[in-house]
């Protein structure tokens, strides 16, 4: 990859580069989807319930949005390392470990943003749903469904976080060529090796991908809002 820029490699279909891009997308998207499946219901639950200590929980949840990736990477590393509690699973330095670390990073973002969105919608719907005798479980589903286009933004924020971070996956993935090397870890490596054109090219590809995903999500939201009101 030394004599060409990443963009050229991408357009000529270089298999090594495509594998890096594919892995980046697969890891970050999987992590964001899993984080959404856990974080969205959790955020909705916190939005709809009042319990002692709720305020501190909200403060911690909001703070976790800024969780340092290297710290999460270190924690997952310790969990998965051979002498760690989950060491027997043999997951360290695999893409699965990277998904686990990014899920932990993204989950608080999805939960906190969902909490805010759902709580606002609940204030609007509360009287009607109460008058219709809608039970707690259906309330959550109704609010998540009707807030779904706003929640696309939460999903995006989560995906952006996952796609851009390097600290966590480089620790638990190990940046192994052809196996756990992603765009961000490759950029870190090429920069330290002094191959700036390649690093810059990869950076451009990463930016392009993030913008594309954002544009897609934006369109989904616009079209959805037009159809559902």
């Amino acid at each position: 990859m030394h004599h060409a820029t990443a963009l050229q490699l991408l357009f000529t279909g270089d298999p090594t580069l495509l594998a890096i891009v594919r892995l980046s997308l697969a890891v970050s998207l999987s992590a964001t989807v899993i984080a959404s499946l856990i974080g969205a219901p959790l955020g909705a639950f916190i939005a709809l319930t009042r319990f002692p200590g709720r305020e501190p929980v909200l403060i911690v949840l909001n703070a976790l949005m800024g969780l340092p990736p290297v710290t999460v990477g270190l924690a997952v590393f310790l969990l998965l390392s051979r002498s760690g509690p989950l060491g027997a699973w043999g997951l360290l330095f695999t893409p699965t470990a990277m998904v686990i670390a990014q899920t932990m990073l993204v989950m608080p973002i999805i939960a906190a943003l969902t909490r805010q969105t759902v709580e606002d919608l609940w204030l609007e719907y509360r009287d009607e749903l109460t008058a219709m005798n809608v039970g707690p479980m259906r309330r959550v589903l109704t609010l998540l469904r009707d807030a779904r286009f706003a929640l696309v933004t939460a999903f995006l924020a989560g995906f952006g976080r996952a796609a851009a971070e390097v600290g966590a996956i480089i620790i638990v993935g190990g940046n192994i060529e052809g196996y756990t090397r992603t765009m961000t870890t490759a950029i870190a490596l090429e920069t330290s090796k002094g191959d700036l054109p390649l690093a810059l090219g990869l950076g451009a590809v990463l930016l392009l991908l993030v913008i594309t995903v954002s544009a897609l999500a934006w369109s989904v939201r616009r079209i959805g809002e037009r159809l559902a009101g």
Binding site: E124, Y125, D127, E128, T130, A131, M132, N133, V134, R138, T142, D146, L227, A228, G229
Partner: protein
């Protein structure tokens, strides 16, 4: 529309009901009985407690003092009542979907749900707007959809909070015709309005509220012909009750 089941909610009985919000007294020592029959219409100026009384009768707020009974029960029964709020909020879905949602919440199963949805849309004259997003309806259409959604619960008692406020005469007439039809079908209508003309047109019984107190109640004819209290006389004379 088929006749509703006999309501286990009636009579609704208020005994010394007081509702407070912080220091403010919203309802003060209300005692009244809402029986089956012609519509009961709550009148009174803004802030007199009409909305609070409707919400308490619906079971949405508990009295700070006194008690409310629905039929022979001291807790509001899960079914049999419906309310149209002054500013109804529709779900972010089509008109038909909003009705299907209400029918599902009322425990109506799939095929029956579709049939009733169409029936309700036709009843309120929104058949052509079934797939329109509900939040893009005009004011009059929105109120009619809200009425249809309330009727989806097959209520024995229907509470309406100023359903024609800020509607033009044509839209008001459409709502009033529906209310008359629903009442003729045996549904007990309890409605708040500050439009005296509307109260005359619809009421079987009048309840005049002022500053959270029930000032005067009685059959509508008698109330409008010979109001008993000074407050009622002033209110009917068009004076501002403050």
């Amino acid at each position: 529309m088929s006749a509703p089941a006999p309501s286990p909610n009636l009579p609704i009985q208020f005994e010394g009901v007081e509702v407070r919000a912080g220091q403010a007294v919203l309802l003060a020592g209300i005692s009244l009985t809402l029986r089956s029959g012609a519509p009961s219409v709550l009148i009174g100026p803004n802030g007199s407690g009409k909305t609070t009384l409707l919400r308490a009768a619906m079971g949405l707020i508990a009295p700070s003092a006194g008690y409310i009974r629905w039929g022979d029960q001291s807790e509001p029964p899960a079914q049999g009542r419906a309310i149209v709020f002054q500013r109804p909020v529709m779900l972010r879905r089509s008109c038909a979907e909003n009705l299907r949602y209400a029918l599902q919440a009322a425990g109506i199963a799939g095929p029956e749900r579709d049939r009733r949805t169409n029936e309700l849309l036709r009843l309120v004259g929104l058949g052509a707007l079934a797939s329109r997003p509900a939040r893009r309806l005009s004011g009059g259409e929105l109120q009619r959809l809200a009425l249809a959604r309330a009727l989806a619960r097959r209520p024995g008692v229907l509470f309406l909070d100023e359903p024609t406020a800020s509607l033009d005469p044509a839209a008001t007439k459409a709502i009033e015709d529906l209310v008359r039809a629903v009442a003729a079908d045996g549904v007990k209508v309890v409605m708040a309005t500050h439009d005296l003309g509307e109260a005359r047109r619809l009421a079987g019984e009048i309840l005049l509220l002022h500053r959270g107190e029930l000032v005067e109640t009685g059959p509508a004819d008698a109330f409008f012909a010979t109001p008993q209290t000074a407050a009622a006389q002033r209110f009917l004379a068009g004076e501002l009750l403050i």
